[in-house]
């Protein structure tokens, strides 16, 4: 039950204690006619329901009070006036009696026991989800296979098949080439074998000639080290000069 229906704020702490309803039953005496007034509860049943059976009775104005144990407004569902049989309901109205329990919500008033200071109102931030955007949905709506993954898959399959065909052709060509090459190499091998057979006759040939002997002789028979050179190399001066030279 909402605020416009009640005429008061439907907030926590509002308890309904009774209902006064009235209507005028319009019917003929002999007609069967029932009128049911009530409110649904949250489970689809009725939190209260009252039925008047006007069958065989004069139609007239009815005003009725239905006492209800104090019931939170949150438990009240949709209200209805339902009829069966032949007749109609006119000038209907339903008035709810209520009480306001100020301290049901401990944040309402400082005088309430167990008062809790109200929390600041936290602004609700709406998160934009592009996937839920209608324009995005329209833009990304699948119209045909062009540019889609499916199309991409199809193209990849075709390319793979073409590649396979090319590979098969290439392999066939190389196989042919190898066959040709094998034929050529066998011919070459036979040629070399034949050449070796032809050259071997030269290996067994004897060349007429003598032996070349060593004719150079060392004078004195001893080689002595250069002492000056050893001294110079033992010092670092030359090395240092060389190092410094590169920075000049």
């Amino acid at each position: 039950m909402n605020t416009p229906t009640l005429g008061v704020s439907a907030e926590t702490g509002l308890d309904i204690s009774g209902v006064i309803y009235n209507y005028t039953a319009v019917k003929d005496l002999e007609d069967d006619f029932t009128v049911t007034v009530g409110n649904e509860d949250l489970d689809g049943g009725y939190i209260w329901k009252d039925t008047e059976d006007w069958s065989g009775k004069y139609g007239m104005k009815l005003r009725k009070f239905i006492p209800i144990p104090y019931t939170p407004i949150e438990l009240f569902g949709k209200g209805s006036i339902a009829t069966t049989g032949k007749g109609s309901v006119e000038d209907a109205s339903v008035i709810y009696m209520y009480r306001w329990d100020l301290c049901r919500n401990a944040q309402n008033d400082k005088s309430c026991p167990n008062y809790i200071p109200p929390l600041p109102v936290i602004p609700v931030i709406e998160i934009y989800d592009a996937l839920e955007d209608e324009f995005v949905k329209d833009a990304t709506k699948e119209t045909d296979d062009v540019g889609t993954d499916k199309d991409e898959d199809t193209r990849e399959t075709e390319e793979e098949e073409e590649e396979k065909e090319r590979l098969e052709i290439a392999m066939a060509a190389s196989e042919n080439a190898l066959t040709i090459a094998n034929t050529a190499s066998q011919a070459s091998l036979l040629l070399r074998i034949n050449n070796a057979t032809n050259v071997s006759s030269y290996y067994v040939a004897q060349i007429q000639g003598g032996v070349y002997r060593e004719s150079i002789a060392l004078q004195g028979g001893e080689i002595v080290d250069n002492r000056k050179a050893l001294r110079s190399l033992a010092q670092d001066n030359l090395m240092n000069d060389m190092i410094q030279e590169q920075y000049k």
């Binding site: 009775k57 007239m60 009815l62």
Partner: protein
């Protein structure tokens, strides 16, 4: 013998004593009468006072509640005289109607048909056979001049609707 008895009592020293003990009780009526809507007269012309809304009047509504079925009857009368008014030198013709306006149960829908009249038709009697509330409307029209359409003297006029709840 009477003397003997008196003598015997004197000898025995016996004196007679008695006490009167009241038994009190209250009966709370299971029927109440309330004015739901106060009525007033409209004055559509110089010689007519009427409660009809069409003539700027208001029909009084009386509610009778009973918590006990078939124990009471309602007796409701429309006025046949003014309880207060300017001095009237001519006759006033009274007409009116008592009717069930609304009920708290469809079982009371037969009240009007089951009602009877008395007091020349000014009083209507309703057996209250169902516990609950019943609203009665009482229409009243006063015409001055005895059919000669004579103007009412200026002033304030008051008439009384009598509604009673009587045990059957």
């Amino acid at each position: 013998m009477r003397k003997l008895a008196l003598l015997l009592s004197l000898i025995l020293g016996v004196t007679s004593a008695y006490a009167g003990t009241n038994i009190n009780g209250n009966v709370e009526s299971r029927c109440t009468v309330n004015t739901d809507t106060a009525g007033y007269y409209g004055n559509p012309n110089a010689y007519t006072l009427t409660t009809l809304p069409a003539s700027a009047g208001q029909v009084p509504i009386i509610r009778i509640d009973t918590s006990l079925a078939t124990a009471y009857k309602a007796q409701i009368s429309y006025p046949t005289s003014f309880s207060s008014s300017p001095s009237l030198g001519d006759t006033v013709v009274w007409t009116g109607a008592v009717a069930v306006d609304q009920t708290s149960s469809s079982d009371m829908s037969g009240y009007q048909a089951a009602s009877t009249t008395a007091d020349g038709g000014a009083m209507r009697i309703y057996p209250l056979t169902v516990a609950g509330a019943t609203w009665f409307s009482v229409a009243s029209v006063a015409t001055y001049g005895g059919g000669q359409q004579k103007a009412f003297p200026g002033g304030s006029y008051t008439a009384v609707v009598v509604a009673e709840c009587i045990a059957q």
